[in-house]
Symmetry: C2
Subunit: 200 residues, 2 copies
DNA sequence: TATATTCACATACGCAGCGTATGTCAATTC
DNA sequence: GAATTGACATACGCTGCGTATGTGAATATA
């Protein structure tokens, strides 16, 4: 029965290291995180790290992949819950703003990720969150609901607006108050992609 | 006569170091740039570096400030040339995005800057740029040309859109092609703040 | 103008941290 | 059950940052 096979134990250590990586990278940032401390906090040594992930960047890539995947899932769920279409897109935007409020996500995925791993669209995770936005925009484009602009460009900039809103809210003295203004401004800008003048 | 005073020589070394910093950071990136090599290439040693800028990050901050200020100035000039107001604002955005084609700006300001100096909106140079945007938007608000949304929020998000567009162009495989799409999408989103549906 | 002081920068040193080369012991294979 | 693999630990070297200390030229002082 519970006889741990070798592959199982290896998977366990991978999970332990990724967990420790999320913590250390979020608290200290990638550059300042010591791999000696990180691995020790997981009850291991750097040997395990280099065996499993090749190098320090390899661990960052694994951590980013895990978080990015979870973000995409949450955004998609929110969009579906709102019924898809334009409402779904706005729900995704709001979700993205809320997700970007998480310091762990800010630091690891939004700041250190692009700096040390390069362009997010080149990541193995393929920036799934962006892909979800692209998919929804494509539907709307097929319905002729939005202006004839490059879909990927729109998706990236929309996500960029949400990101910037989140960063502003996070750094604000009064996050509650700022959040309202940020979401209003987000929806205001987003309305620019609709063909018809938005009512609200 | 050209008897160099001490302050003049010090200013010279600051300029030399910033120049070498721009080169090294652009070519190797901040993390991989060796301060020994950098200072040696300027005919100096690390002593000069730490005396003038405190530490490695201090030099990066100085380099980023110089480049970013020049970017803001160029954007402002373009805005003025376009006659200010809404057209000026759009011209500023376009210029900022176009500047992202420069590899030096891509690497230093758009990637390493945020990673090692933190949130760009906290940079001195970015705050100046933000204030300019707020001023322009306030004029438009007084004229009733834009929707009744918090001005600071709009300004921050508009700048965020331009910055994000620039980042995308910067990381793109085909910057020239991407640039067109990015600018179109930028103007599309920006149109969302206008009260009347934009014609184009 | 001779002496004292400052200060911009060089030199020297310690230490942290990454990556690699090597060792070791348990899990699989034959 | 002997041999082999492989997951991880241990040991080592090297790079590179920051700091403590030294030095000589520019300024201040008398």
């Amino acid at each position: 029965m519970a006889a741990k096979t070798r592959a199982e134990k290896m998977e366990e250590t991978r999970i332990k290291l990724i967990k420790a990586g999320r913590k250390a990278f979020a608290e200290k940032g990638y550059a300042e995180a010591s791999m000696d401390e990180l691995t020790a906090s997981a009850g291991l040594t750097r040997g395990a790290l280099y065996h499993n992930f090749g190098d320090k960047r390899g661990l960052l890539a694994a951590v980013v992949d895990e978080i990015d995947s979870a973000m995409a899932q949450q955004a998609k769920d929110a969009g579906d819950a709102a019924g898809g279409g334009w409402n779904g897109l706005m729900a995704e935007g709001r979700t993205y703003i809320e997700l970007a409020l998480d310091p762990e996500i800010q630091r690891i995925v939004l700041r250190d990720g692009p700096a040390f791993l390069g362009d997010p669209s080149q990541w193995p995770s393929q920036n799934r969150c962006l892909q979800a936005t692209i998919a929804t925009l494509s539907e709307l484009a097929d319905q002729g609901a939005i202006k004839p602009v490059d879909i990927e460009a729109l998706a990236r900039l929309l996500n960029g607006v949400a990101l910037n809103a989140a960063l502003w809210v996070a750094a604000s003295d009064d996050p509650k108050d700022t959040l309202g203004k940020a979401i209003a401004a987000f929806e205001c800008l987003a309305a620019g992609v609709l063909v018809a003048p938005s009512a609200k």
